[in-house]
């Protein structure tokens, strides 16, 4: 299944005191995930950050699966994050890349019913960014994160599309590229009126926007 899913959480746009209330986080995390934070050596991640990290992984997984299951509803507690690995403490320097080899990355496996997906997440003081994939190989996945100057929803939407288009113009030989949505609301790439076989995912929250893109084949073979 070719797809991609990403999400970004602006840590300045979340209410930390509310996040720490059980009635709030229990609508995002299942009981095992809550106890896992205390029991599995994860307490070096502040709990509110843990909640939003798992949210971003689950939302990314939802976006990944929804492309092939349009009627899927996002139900955070039905997505289950396991095997969360924390990076050694290197500061995050890259804001765009292909794969995550050069990054201090959080890794996990997220399951939804019979589906298992792999995640990579990047965290700094201002955001949590996650991408999921069906395999544990992310070397062909392009991603980018960018700050914008205001959080108006129309501005976010314009900026994230412009950010992705700039990257696509670098990568692809097409001259009539555009980003559209299919009938189920998933972003798709068009060259003229023809859909291109590259999955893209867009995310925005507060003053941050992000994309991921997953070619079905290597970009070198798409180039003519």
């Amino acid at each position: 299944m070719n797809s991609t899913g990403n999400d970004i959480v602006s840590l300045n746009a979340v209410d930390i005191s509310r996040t720490l209330q059980p009635r709030f986080y229990s609508k995002i995390l299942c009981a095992t995930e809550i106890s896992h934070h205390h029991q599995a050596g994860l307490t070096q991640i502040p709990f509110e950050r843990y909640v939003w990290l798992l949210w971003s992984i689950k939302e990314s997984a939802y976006k990944y699966l929804q492309r092939h299951n349009p009627n899927l509803l996002f139900s955070p507690t039905k997505f289950f994050v396991t095997r969360l690995e924390i990076p050694s403490e290197n500061p995050l320097r890259l804001m765009e890349g292909v794969g995550f080899e050069e990054c201090p990355v959080y890794k996990s496996i997220v399951t939804f019913g019979p589906e298992s997906l792999y995640s990579r997440s990047l965290i700094n003081q201002e955001f949590i960014f996650s991408v999921v994939n069906q395999t544990n190989d992310f070397e062909n996945i392009h991603w980018g994160i960018k700050s914008i100057d205001n959080a108006d929803p129309d501005h976010q939407s314009t900026e994230v599309r412009s950010f992705l288009m700039d990257k696509l113009d670098e990568l692809l030989p097409y001259d009539d590229l555009s980003i559209s949505k299919n009938t189920y609301g998933c972003p798709i790439l068009l060259n003229g009126t023809n859909q291109i076989n590259i999955s893209v995912s867009l995310a925005h929250h507060g003053c941050w926007v992000a994309y991921s893109l997953q070619p079905q084949e290597t970009l070198a073979t798409i180039s003519f």
Binding site: V9, D15, I28, L73, P153, H204, H205
Partner: protein, 89 residues
């Protein structure tokens, strides 16, 4: 509560999470919280929590999943108010 009364209160619950105040005034059953009101998905849990507090109800996971547009929000809230009233006889 009538459907109209729930709708009027729901507008107040939603208001902090949308910048589209004009559309909020004219919402109908089909108005989608994310696509139309441009509410960030990260705020959907806030809306559920605020609705629980506003109506003194508890919204379970399966019901929360359905709250994607104004009509389904009203249906869920209406159902939970009814359940609460039945429990309190």
């Amino acid at each position: 509560m009538t459907k109209q009364e729930i709708l009027n209160e729901l507008k107040k619950v939603i208001a902090p999470y949308t910048t589209n105040k004009e559309l909020l005034e004219s919402i109908n059953d089909q108005t989608d919280l994310i696509k139309d009101l441009k509410i960030n998905s990260a705020n959907l849990v806030d809306i559920i929590i605020d609705a629980e507090a506003k109506y003194d109800i508890e919204i379970d996971y399966d019901s929360a999943d359905k709250m994607v547009n104004v009509g389904t929000c009203i249906d869920v809230i209406s159902e939970k108010i009814k359940e609460k009233n039945e429990q309190h006889g």
